[in-house]
């Protein structure tokens, strides 16, 4: 009788790009032994738009409609990062109020991303009520964005020198109203999701990260914080007005998906808290320092690396200028690049196939920012 080798028992399976369990347009080549994964290979490139090449062909100001599309659901971080890089290289000062407004926008953006993520993580486990609620509630934040910036998803609101428009009249109250609404609804989410027995059972102990990996492979964001590492760019290297806000870094010690989920759950509270603080402390004044003539704007040669805390971790922009009116090179550090490749490859062996899509949503991989 022929003995089956391990190789014979292995099944190769392709998850994505068209697969309901994959966030965004990416694919994974997984090897299965029964229900257990033995290895994974990540494939991206389905969303490659050659941003960095296109940016080298466009004026600095023309790049803003591009950068906000680099990570689709979280456009403001991109805009803010790129704007800050240009400000640094060209020496433009930003008015105080603009900084506060930027921080407000960033926090709102984080908040909507977390709301969306709730839908994602619960949705991958089949709890379709959660995405229906959270994506619906997220829409109120998008309405705020629409009112403030004129766009729901792509805001093109943060430009070098400040922000594009001042807050509309009564905007602060409406923000607070939405925050009140969310705070009222969040206990429902806790009941439905975060305290759900099945939810806990599915997430606890899954995708267990070895804390030593965090520094080794450059894991950042909630994933690192779930391992007890207080890494948060907002505190580490405060940008905009984060140094003037009062908050603590959120950490958990479980190192598994449940801890990551709880970090994100608590980040929602933190974001709401920060938004309230910002609105309370926001000063009056100008929101815009006029740029040089944008059609001919040249920035002296130099290079810089700026970063900020996206919902997924350290989002960085490496910008090189050569004194012309176009950037020489813009390289975006997509947060989830190490998460989707190096970390996932280490996490996968021994994982159940049912947990695979939960894990990729739990790590919050975002293909557009990996491939750009």
């Amino acid at each position: 009788m022929k003995k089956f080798s391990k190789k014979d028992r292995e099944v190769k399976l392709f998850v994505g790009p068209q697969h309901p369990g994959v966030t965004g347009n990416m694919s994974f080549e997984i090897t299965l032994e029964g229900d257990i994964l033995t290895s994974v290979k990540t494939h991206v490139g389905y969303l490659h738009r050659a941003f960095e090449k296109l940016m080298e062909r466009r004026l600095f100001i023309q790049n803003f409609p591009l950068v906000c599309r680099i990570c689709v659901p979280e456009s403001d971080t991109n805009e803010e990062n790129y704007a800050r890089a240009l400000e640094e290289l060209s020496g433009i000062e930003v008015p105080e109020r603009a900084k506060w407004i930027r921080t407000l926008v960033l926090e709102l953006s984080r908040l909507q991303m977390f709301m969306r993520w709730i839908g994602g993580i619960a949705g991958t486990m089949g709890l379709s009520t959660a995405p229906q609620w959270s994506v619906g509630d997220r829409d109120y934040i998008l309405d705020l964005f629409e009112e403030l910036t004129g766009g729901r998803i792509y805001h093109i609101y943060i430009l070098p020198g400040g922000v594009r428009r001042d807050l509309p009249e009564g905007f602060e109250e409406r923000v607070l109203k939405v925050m009140d609404y969310l705070e009222k609804k969040l206990p429902d989410y806790d009941d439905l999701i975060f305290e759900n027995a099945v939810f806990k059972k599915r997430l606890k102990g899954i995708a267990k990260i070895d804390p030593s990996w965090v520094e080794e492979i450059g894991v950042t964001g909630p994933v690192a914080r779930a391992c007890g590492f207080p890494f948060d760019v907002r505190k580490e290297q405060p940008y905009e007005v984060y140094d003037k806000l009062d908050f603590e870094i959120i950490t958990e010690n479980g190192c598994d998906l449940y801890s990551m989920a709880m970090v994100r759950r608590r980040e929602i509270d933190l974001s709401i808290n920060l938004i309230r603080q910002i609105i309370e402390k926001m000063p009056k004044g100008d929101v815009w320092t006029p740029l040089p003539n944008v059609l001919y704007w040249k920035i002296p040669a130099g290079e810089t690396y700026v970063k900020s805390e996206a919902t997924r971790g350290e989002f960085g922009y490496y910008v090189v200028t050569d004194g012309s009116d176009k950037p020489r090179r813009v390289h975006v550090r997509g947060v989830s690049t190490p998460h989707a490749y190096t970390l996932l490859e280490r996490l996968v062996p021994g994982m159940n196939i049912s947990d695979f899509s939960v894990a990729i949503v739990g790590l919050q991989t975002c293909p557009p920012e990996i491939e750009r």
Binding site: D35, L127, S128, Q132, F199, I353, F356
Partner: protein, 303 residues
């Protein structure tokens, strides 16, 4: 001559069952929508979906088994529906129930699922091939508490005829098995959740994990057969559980009400839980319902 009447009645029951099943699906969607804070589709949406599916063209071939599987599914559904008496001792609606119908029903229930599994495995899609293994594992899970409760009831009432079971529960609400043998009923009802692939036990049709499970490759007319089969099967199971635990029905209105309550129970649970992993689901079935059911089972034996 009576056999032709029987066939006519059977046809009416199947069509009525289908209509009712589709309507329940529509209502389920509406209720779910309400929970999720939205309007939801019309309750007749499922009818429209079915009409559309029937006239979609299919251009896929994966072999004979692939085509037969939906038939098995449909047959299993019709079999279950036609064997359980909707209204016991009613000429028209007691269907083909006979002395040992409970055993045959159990067989038909597995038959449909097995057919499905064969078809899925034959469709050549790795995801849908994964689904039967999960489905069978889960079946092994829920069949245990279900069989426990069915056998327990059979022993308790000393019969394997559904009509007799129903008859034994007549005479007031407290005579229902639900109250007579509450623990067995709980085990049976939890097993029913598994049977309906309701969350948290929906490991077979797990869209985020293995595409959409067995019917991944199915489309158009075949899918409509599956759809029909599922609706009829669903109604059949509701009727079965009504007969087993809720004392059957003496008229159509009662039957509607009772099946609707069972349906609400499934909807009530399935919308607020995520899905278990396969082995977690099996483990769940083999622990809590089994243990709970055993309490009554032992009680029956002692008696």
């Amino acid at each position: 001559m009576w056999i032709w009447y029987k066939v006519l009645y059977a046809l009416i029951v199947v069509i009525g069952g289908l209509a009712y099943g589709l309507l329940l699906g529509g209502i389920s969607r509406k209720i779910t929508a309400r929970l999720q804070g939205r309007r939801g589709p019309s309750v007749f949406q499922n009818y429209i979906d079915l009409i559309k599916l029937i006239r979609k063209r299919t251009a896929i071939s994966h072999g004979v088994m692939f085509f037969l599987a939906p038939m098995f599914r449909l047959l299993g559904g019709i079999g279950v529906l036609l064997l359980v008496p909707i209204i016991a001792n009613n000429t028209a609606l007691s269907n083909f129930s006979f002395g040992g119908d409970l055993i045959v029903v159990l067989y038909f229930m597995v038959f449909g699922c097995l057919g499905m599994a064969l078809g899925a495995a034959d469709s050549g899609h790795p995801h849908s091939a994964l689904a039967p293994t999960r489905g069978l594992a889960q079946m092994a899970g829920y069949e245990l508490p279900f069989l426990l409760s069915v056998i327990g009831l059979a022993i308790a009432h000393n019969t394997v005829s559904l009509s007799n079971l129903v008859a034994a529960q007549q005479g007031g609400i407290l005579h229902w098995n639900l109250f007579q043998y509450p623990f067995l009923s709980i085990a049976g009802l939890i097993a029913m959740l598994g049977m309906y692939m309701a969350y948290p036990f929906s490991v077979v049709m797990a869209p985020q994990e293995i595409a959409v499970g067995p019917p991944t490759e199915y489309s158009s007319t075949f899918l409509s057969f599956m759809f029909t089969g599922r609706s009829i099967f669903g109604v059949g199971k509701y009727v079965l559980f009504m007969d087993l635990f809720l004392g059957g029905a003496t008229n159509l209105v009662e039957a509607f009400v009772k099946t609707f309550v069972l349906f609400l129970f499934v909807v009530f649970i399935s919308n607020v839980f995520p899905r278990y992993r396969t082995e977690q689901a099996v483990r769940f079935f083999w622990t809590y319902p089994l243990v709970i059911g055993l309490i009554d089972f032992i009680r029956i034996f002692i008696k």
